[in-house]
């Protein structure tokens, strides 16, 4: 898609403006987007194109403010990323950041996903225990649903399955 302004460069900034229900679309290249002052009103533009990360960074700001009041910039030992930097770019630097920023992470995850723990696929390498644990989690939720739906026969089957797995976990 070409830029609406210069009609030359590739449009990489796509904006939908809705004013009083009137929808207008703009497709711009980075350069023209920077020159267009409308962006200064809608969001900060600091010479970078609009990105999902930046958008998310704004999303993390309330958490950041709280964080500033509490402590000194925290950083990840793995990659050196600091939490303030993370809140700017919206991306972690390495997988160890999750450990380093654990304290800040929970409220953020709750806002994004509504949950703070994983349910679902586990790498095979992680071995049996981890897989059984996540299977139990899944069955428990299914059990809850069955109870809510008053499907007691299904609930009984699920309860037995959970028991069996829990015993297996205890034995290992």
């Amino acid at each position: 898609m070409r830029c609406d302004e210069c009609k030359k460069r590739q449009a990489t900034v796509h904006i939908t403006k809705i004013v009083n229900g009137e929808k207008t679309l703009l497709h711009l290249c980075e350069q023209c987007a920077k020159e267009k002052s409308i962006f200064d009103v809608s969001f900060e533009f600091e010479g970078e194109p609009f990105s999902m990360q930046k958008f998310l960074a704004g999303f993390f700001e309330p958490i950041m403010r709280e964080f500033h009041e509490k402590s000194q910039p925290l950083s990840c030992e793995g990659c050196g990323l600091t939490f303030p930097r993370f809140s700017q770019i919206g991306r972690f630097g390495c997988s160890r950041c999750y450990e380093a920023f654990k304290g800040q992470l929970d409220p953020m995850l709750r806002r994004l996903h509504g949950k703070t723990y994983h349910v679902g696929k586990v790498p095979r390498k992680r071995g049996g225990r981890m897989r059984i644990k996540s299977e139990i989690e899944r069955l428990k939720r299914e059990l809850q649903e069955a109870v809510n739906a008053e499907e007691y026969e299904r609930a009984a089957v699920l309860r037995d399955k959970i028991k069996e797995l829990e015993q297996k976990l205890g034995r290992d």
């Binding site: 990489t12 793995g78 972690f92 723990y117 994983h118 679902g120 095979r124």
Partner: protein, 350 residues
């Protein structure tokens, strides 16, 4: 780097087959985000490290002789802008991968699997299936994941699941999308209302080429947003049930058209067919609109000499980069519109 073989749309599975509910759902796509343990995420890698990641992943992919048979690896730095844009238009890569030349993509010979390397995450395993079949796409993606996991150490945490560069993808790392063709609901102005309730269901609607793009040709991509705390199966089921309702509404809306409304729609469809088969200049956006009409005409039995698959093919042909790749040159917008109109006419009149 020969991209020519990718231009041959007859080899692309999702274009040429008709999966479940393919009168409304064009494709189902699943992507899994994975990262290597103890390696900084792609945005912190220098060229050399990035290349090492590409080589490691490619080697791991080659370990399975069946999946990797005749698969190709394309380095972004070797591709021209047009070539990269073509891969985006064909949905093999994301616009983000195309923007940075430290990435690469592996594309399987049946074009159903593409593994993006060094996008936002080290790996983005993607599978595209025809029609409404996210489970099929997930099963294949998960198999690819298993194969790669045997060779590579993925960053995984007992509590948080698969660790990703952006916390919006953490957990399952899964994004399930279905691309739907909703011309009548769009015409009746019911899509906006329907989509505004999506967020409450943990789903988002995107344009044709992904995040932040407009919906062209009445095509909409619906995908999950939540990746943590729900299993892959639940996420797929949730999307399936919402997609099912949208499909039912679109079909109902198509059936409900009668009298003058139906006549006006038939008129519009046949006019669009006339324009596609007669015009000398067509922009991508304009062409998409007419192709959408013709596709609807085929689905409603108004146009009988074309198959739905042929229209899928036209959606790709109409893209901005396809034309330039076919003719192997950079063109002015006028030349593109001229060649696009010619090519679409040829394909329709065969």
């Amino acid at each position: 780097m020969a991209l020519d073989e990718l231009l041959d749309t007859s080899k692309i599975g999702w274009i040429n087959s008709t999966g479940p509910d393919s009168d409304i759902v064009i494709t189902s796509r699943v992507r899994l985000a994975r990262n290597l343990k103890d390696v900084p995420f792609p945005h912190l890698l220098n060229r050399l490290q990035a290349k090492e990641v590409i080589e490691m992943v490619y080697k791991a992919f080659l370990s399975n002789a069946v999946l990797s048979k005749d698969a190709r690896l394309y380095y972004m730095e070797d591709l021209s802008e047009t070539e990269k844009n073509l891969l985006v238009e064909m949905h093999f890569i994301s616009p983000d991968l195309a923007r940075d030349d430290r990435g690469a993509v592996i594309i399987s010979s049946d074009r159903r699997i593409s593994v993006m390397i060094n996008e936002e995450d080290h790996l983005r395993i993607q599978c595209i299936f025809s029609g409404l079949d996210p489970q099929g796409a997930y099963d294949l993606a998960s198999r690819v994941d298993d194969v790669l996991e045997e060779q590579l150490d993925f960053a995984f945490d007992e509590q948080l699941g698969y660790l990703t560069a952006c916390p919006t993808n953490v957990g399952t790392g899964i994004r399930v999308s279905v691309m739907m063709h909703l011309p009548v609901l769009t015409m009746l102005k019911q899509v906006d209302r329907m989509f505004s309730t999506m967020a409450q269901l943990g789903l988002v609607v995107r344009g044709l080429y992904g995040e932040g793009t407009e919906s062209w040709g009445n095509l909409y991509q619906i995908s999950n947003q939540i990746t943590l705390g729900k299993s892959e199966e639940d996420i797929i089921q949730n999307l399936l049930s919402v997609a099912g309702q949208i499909i039912a509404s679109e079909r109902q809306a198509r059936r409900n058209l009668n009298g003058e409304e139906r006549l006006r729609l038939e008129d519009r469809i046949l006019r669009s067919y006339g324009i596609l088969t007669n015009s000398r200049l067509l922009s991508t956006q304009e062409a998409m609109r007419y192709i959408s009409d013709v596709r609807l005409g085929v689905d409603l039995g108004i146009i009988k000499n074309l198959k739905p698959e042929e229209l899928n093919n036209l959606f790709i042909t109409a893209g901005p980069s396809y034309i330039q790749e076919v003719f192997k040159k950079t063109m002015t917008p006028l030349e593109r519109d001229l060649n696009r109109a010619n090519l679409l006419r040829q394909k329709l009149l065969r």
